[in-house]
Every structure is written in structure tokens, then in C-alpha cells.
Symmetry: C2
Subunit: 422 residues, 2 copies
């Protein structure tokens, strides 16, 4: 069997499993999740040994300490991963939810209900926790999971998936609900991306180049999880203290995340009052400014030097304490800047003006708009979803933080009593 045939055979087994999964009750799925959690904890030694093999190879390859840290599984981390599966079991089942329902004048009863997608492919990077996480989210939503992790975590992923499959089988559930995509070359990803008709949706999780490559080459529908070039706009009518707090929290509370702010825009009319407070506070927080001329002049007054801002800065997702900054003459200028440079993730306005807030909300075309709140709140957990698959920056199907319902599609169920069309 060649590589492509092997991937397709795996996808066909996933389809068969999916047909069984869509008939499971919530009780059956939740019992499976808890059984998987118990099995992972019971197999701690086996998994940690497998993981040690990956870590050893990564060390020998000279992998960076931060990536090795993300790759490493300890008994404590494994317990946390298992606990997340138990939390998932406590969440409501998205399948079966009636999202529209009404009766037509002719008596036909129409209900639009959530049903599983079918086969969900996940393509992701080194973190082995995603293997368990994705398997759990798919099982809870009634989908079969096809998992393609990084080859650097191959031994860990193999062990985790083997343990979960054994536990599914022991629970009387289809073990092909969770499968690894065979092969660890780039070719196997290509076969997965072109298995249209066998795979219902692909979700890439990871860096920009991974996501770009899946979006460009997949004929299977993709949910793009994305880059966050988030903006904070301080309006003319902002409260100074709130503005300072929100800028610092959005930029500096945690920098290595997609919902951190990367650009600050300040209305010219508030700059005189705001800057003497904001600039020293930013400097104290270690924020490095890449600013336009007017902004830089304010910084200079506080003896802070800025780098001159470039188009590359306006476009950047820094993942660091760097911040692009500029002065705008109006809210509409801020909207125009955001329309040009934003990645469509999250934009925030700080204002006490109801008019300004309404205009900003209407004018921004992004997944999330914050009014007097930190960009850092764009997160499935913060939104109360209980579980998050990723944050979609595309417009089709799901936009913003995605929870379990975003792993479902819908069916219209139409019930009549021999109704014919005339």
C-alpha cells in the first residue's frame, strides 16, 4: 500500500467510526472521556518513557529549550491533560441542540439541529497535549479525529493515541474515533489535505506558515485559526486611567499570545493629557515603542526614545514587548488604519463616548471588538465556553473563539404527516 492509499484507508476507517459516533448518547461519550482520562493516568510510566525518547532526540538535534519544554510530559502535566478530559465530560453535548424550530402554515414542523461534522483532521505542532485535547473535543462533539502532530512528538503521540484507543475499545466505543495519520513526511499531510469527501474539515493549529500552507493547498474545507495583529485605539473621550490600564494589560500582561495588542493608536485630542501618564508607564513595563513622528515627540518629552515605525511594524505580530504606535486625527482615521493592517482578530476602543463606541463597533471588521476591555479577553475560556479549539480569524462557519458547537454542522429535520408539495 503506498503512502496516499494508507492515509485514505485511515480516513475511511474514520468515516466508519464517525457513522457510529453520531448515534452515541451523551452518557456514552462522557463515559468514554472519563475512561480515556483514567487510562492516561494509569499509563503514566509508559507515556513518560515514550516522551523521554522524543525529548532525547530533540536535545540531540539542538532544539531550543522553550520547544523542549512544550514537548515534555511529566506525570503532573499528564494528570492535568487527563483532568481536561474530565472537564470536557461535564460540558453540555452540542449534538442535538435545536438552533431553530418552527411550524409552517401547512403544518410541517421544521427543526434545525446540531449534528457532528463527521471526520475532523487536526494538523498541529510539537505540543503533545493537543493530541489528547483534540481527541477529547472530537469525541465529545461526535466526530472521528484524524491527528497529524509534529514528527518531533511522534513517540509521545503514538503512546497517547494507543492508550486512548485501548480505553475506547474497552468502553465499547469505536477505537477508530481516534487515529494518527500514518507517515511523518510532508507528503502524508498533503494526502490528508486532498482527501475531500473522506475528511469533512481540517483545523490547522500552530504557526502562520503551517496555517498558510494548509489554507493554500487543501481541497478539504479548512477552519483557519489565526494570526493576531490586535489594535488598541484610545479615543478622544477616553478615561485616562482606564486607557493606561487597558494599554498595559493588552500589550504586556502576556506577550507570546495571539490576543496581545501589537499596535496602539491615540486620538490627537487626548494625547496632551494621556501621554505624560501613559509613556512612563509603558517604559516601566518594558514596552519598546516603534512610533510615528508625532507619537515619538511625546515620548521624547518623557525622555523615551522610539524606533521610527515602518510598514513592517504596522503589519507585525511581534509576540514580544514591542509595540507599534501612532497618533490619529479621528476615529475614522483609526478605522482606516485598522482596515488596512489588522489581521481581523481583536480590536479595542477605550472611550466614554457612546457615539464613538457604536461607530467603532460598526466600522471594525474583526472577529472580536472590545469596548473598554483588554484584547486579552479574546479566549474561549474567558468567554465561558469551557473548551476552546482555537480562535478563527476567517469569516465562514466560525469567527472568534471556537467551542464545541463550532465542531458541529446542522441538519434540518422536517416532520409531516404525508405532506406533498403542490
Amino acid at each position: 500500500m503506498d503512502d496516499r492509499e494508507e492515509v485514505l484507508a485511515t480516513a475511511r476507517r474514520a468515516r466508519l467510526a464517525a457513522a457510529a459516533l453520531r448515534l452515541l448518547t451523551r452518557d456514552q461519550k462522557d463515559a468514554g472521556l472519563v475512561a480515556m482520562a483514567d487510562a492516561l493516568v494509569a499509563a503514566t510510566d509508559r507515556i513518560v518513557v515514550a516522551n523521554a525518547g522524543d525529548v532525547e532526540r530533540a536535545r540531540a538535534d539542538g532544539t531550543s529549550a522553550s520547544i523542549i519544554d512544550r514537548l515534555t510530559l511529566t506525570p503532573t502535566r499528564l494528570a492535568d491533560i487527563a483532568e481536561a478530559l474530565r472537564d470536557l465530560a461535564k460540558l453540555p453535548d452540542p449534538v442535538g441542540e435545536v438552533i431553530r424550530g418552527y411550524t409552517l402554515p401547512n403544518g410541517l414542523q421544521i427543526r434545525q439541529i446540531r449534528v457532528p461534522m463527521g471526520v475532523v483532521g487536526m494538523i498541529y505542532e510539537a505540543r503533545p497535549n493537543v493530541t489528547v485535547d483534540a481527541a477529547g473535543l472530537c469525541l465529545k462533539s461526535g466526530n472521528a479525529a484524524l491527528l497529524r502532530g509534529s514528527s518531533s512528538a511522534a513517540l509521545s503521540n503514538r503512546a497517547l493515541v494507543d492508550v486512548m484507543r485501548e480505553s475506547l475499545a474497552a468502553s465499547g466505543l469505536p477505537q477508530d474515533a481516534v487515529q494518527l495519520v500514518p507517515g511523518d513526511t510532508h507528503e502524508s499531510v498533503k494526502h490528508l489535505m486532498t482527501a475531500r469527501g473522506l475528511v469533512d474539515v481540517l483545523i490547522p493549529r500552530g504557526g502562520e506558515s503551517l496555517i498558510r500552507s494548509v489554507v493554500d493547498n487543501s481541497t478539504v474545507p479548512v477552519i483557519e485559526t489565526g494570526v493576531g495583529n490586535c489594535h488598541v485605539y484610545v479615543d478622544r473621550d477616553a478615561d485616562i486611567d482606564k486607557a493606561v490600564a487597558l494599554v498595559l494589560n493588552s500589550k504586556a500582561q502576556r506577550v507570546s499570545v495571539c490576543n496581545a495588542a501589537e499596535t496602539l493608536l491615540v486620538h490627537a485630542d487626548i494625547a496632551d493629557a494621556l501621554m505624560p501618564v501613559l509613556i512612563p508607564a509603558m517604559a516601566e513595563a518594558g514596552i519598546r515603542l516603534h512610533a510615528d513622528e508625532r507619537f515619538s515627540r511625546y515620548a521624547a518629552e518623557a525622555t523615551i526614545t522610539c524606533e521610527p515605525v515602518t510598514d513592517a511594524d504596522w503589519a507585525a505580530e511581534y509576540y514580544s514587548l514591542d509595540l507599534a504606535a501612532g497618533i490619529v486625527d479621528s476615529l475614522d482615521d483609526a478605522l482606516a488604519h485598522i482596515a488596512r493592517w489588522s489581521s481581523g482578530h481583536t480590536e479595542a476602543i477605550v472611550t466614554d463616548s457612546q457615539t464613538a463606541a457604536m461607530r467603532f463597533v460598526a466600522g471594525v471588521d474583526s472577529a472580536v471588538v472590545m469596548v473598554n476591555a483588554s484584547t486579552r479577553f479574546t479566549d474561549g475560556g474567558e468567554f465561558g465556553f469551557g473548551a476552546e479549539i482555537g480562535i478563527s480569524t476567517q469569516k465562514l462557519h466560525a469567527r472568534g473563539p471556537m467551542g464545541l458547537p463550532e465542531l458541529t454542522t446542522t441538519t434540518f429535520v422536517v416532520t409531516g404527516d404525508g405532506h406533498c408539495r403542490t
Copy 2:
């Protein structure tokens, strides 16, 4: 300017228009729709003359009478097209609808609201009514429309779009809300399909090969409207009269449509009672059977001859009075047949058994499942949507009949009072 640059320049104008359209109120959009309707009626002569040019060329090219009929615009047809725009004005505005809303424990207020997609590309075949229809649906949902009709309707589409653009300008609305994609070669379609970032979604409407080509080649997200290989399954516990009526209505009420039935599956236990009534009724309706051996034996008893059914028949969307037919030994065998051959559009069960109905609904993976109702009801109009863009047979974003809400995406609006994340 080369062809690609010309298409991209058009898309950029559409993006600018979209930024203005998302700020319009419902009143403004509805006034625009009514103005467009009035303008089209007032320009009847101009449009009919342009259309005559297309019709003349089609005749000279030896085009079939049915296609010429679909291409032809008469004053009456134009009045109907304009009336559809007025009907659209009466429908609720999907933009601004709050589809989820709640307050978090920390006081943050979260609302998920419908917003326009942005730029919607439509690729369609000879019917010039789609030009107006699509422009109207896009305007109502706050989107800019990029229209790429068939070159055989080029003069008609030019005239229709010119009249609509003039009326938009006269109403103070952005005239680039409606544009034709420049160029009538296949290349211009290719440029549209690869204008990712400028075009938010593509909706192909037409035959299978057109849709296939868009799905396979587009890097812009596509909403696939699809092929209907619909099944009717008559269960063991069906009412005979309802079963006969539903089979005839599903297959023969109108054959050239995607929601007509193409395959009939009959439970073996009801065949003795059903067939003596059903077979003559189907023959009288002119239905031509392609049947398996067991089904054919029942037909032979009523002196009706069947063609032996082939895999091509099980797969076919006939668009005619032909019907593939077979006997199954159980509901699960019917589900397995449907899982193998269905295009995921609509499947119907005829049964008086609640257990059978529940199992069928849970086991079928299609956009619509009918219980004791004709497959012909799968339609935005019949569902009470007021307007229909098409019927999606894909699972992402929209599945089944699509109305105005399916032309929107959502934004999360999060309102705080200086909320920072800790």
C-alpha cells in the same frame, strides 16, 4: 492594465463599497432595493433591447430552445424580477441580529452579532435574473456583490448592472456595491477565485461541473451549492397511501430540480402490500424504473418492465422521470445504501414508527431529513425564508437552504468598564 490587475482593481473597489455598506441602516438598504426595482422597470426598453442581442447571438450559435427560454427577458419577466427586490425589502435585516448574548461573572457583556461578510462573489450560468437576485440579496445583507455571469448573457447583464448602479448612485448609495467581474474569458473567473483577502466568499450557482471547478480551484472560501441525489425510503411500518403519494410527489411533481427524488428504497416486509398499489401508480405517472432484481420481480407482476439498476443509476441525479429502485431488508440497510450513494442533500423516510423515524434521523448525514414529507419541500421559499441564495450540501457555515443570514458572518462585541485580565 492586464486582466488579473483589472479583476483585482474591481475587487478593491468592492472592498471600499463594503466598508460603506456595513454602516448602512436597514431603511437605507431597503430604499436602495426599491429604487433599483423602480429603475429596472423604468428601463424596460433598454434592457429588453440589450437582451435581444444576447438572444439573437444564442440563436445564431444554435443554442437549445430551453436555454434560450431561460436567457430571454420580457417586460413581464422584468417586472417579476423587480418585484422580487421589493419583496426582499420587506424581509428583516439579518445584520445586527444578536445570536448569543450574556454577561460574564466579572461583568463583561458579550454579544455575538451578525455582520456582513464583505465582498461576495457569485459565479453563475445563463439566467440574467440571477444578476438582479444576487445584487439584491447582497445589498440587503450589507455585502458588495461581484457578479460573474455567463458570457452568453453579457449584454443583458451589462444593462441590468448599469441600471442598478445608476439607481444606487441616485439614492446616495455606493454604486460599487454591484459590479460585474471584467473580462468574459475563463481566466477572469480564475482571477476571481484566487483573490483571497479581497473576496470573502464565492458562491457558484449552476451545473455540477461549474461548482466542481470552483471548489477545486478557489483559494477564496466557497459555499458549495449542490447536486441532489435524494432518496425516499419506505419503511416496514409505512402507511401505504401516504407512501404512494410521497413517492410520486418526490419523484414526479417536478423533475428538473435538485430536491426531486432519484432513488426509492422499499423495506422487504412491506413490499407485498405496497407494490401492487405503488407500481401501477408510478407507471401511470410516467416514471421509468431502474430496479434491482427483487424490485423488478414485483414490477413484472404488474406487467411493468424495469431496466436493471447499475452503480451509475444509484449515483445519478437524473433530472428526469427515471428512478433507481431497490428492496432493502432493514432500515439499517437503507441507511448504509444512503451513506454510500447520497450527495447529502435530502433523504425522506415514510413510516408510522417513532422508533424508525428517530433512527433514520440520527443515522442520515444529509442537509435535510424528511419524515413523512416530500423531498420537494427542501427549498428556502417552502421553509419560509423569504429569499434563497441556494441550497448548500457542504457542512461548513451553511447546510441546506440558505437565506439572508447565511450571507453574514458574526462579530463578538465585548463591553467592559476598563476590564483587564489578571
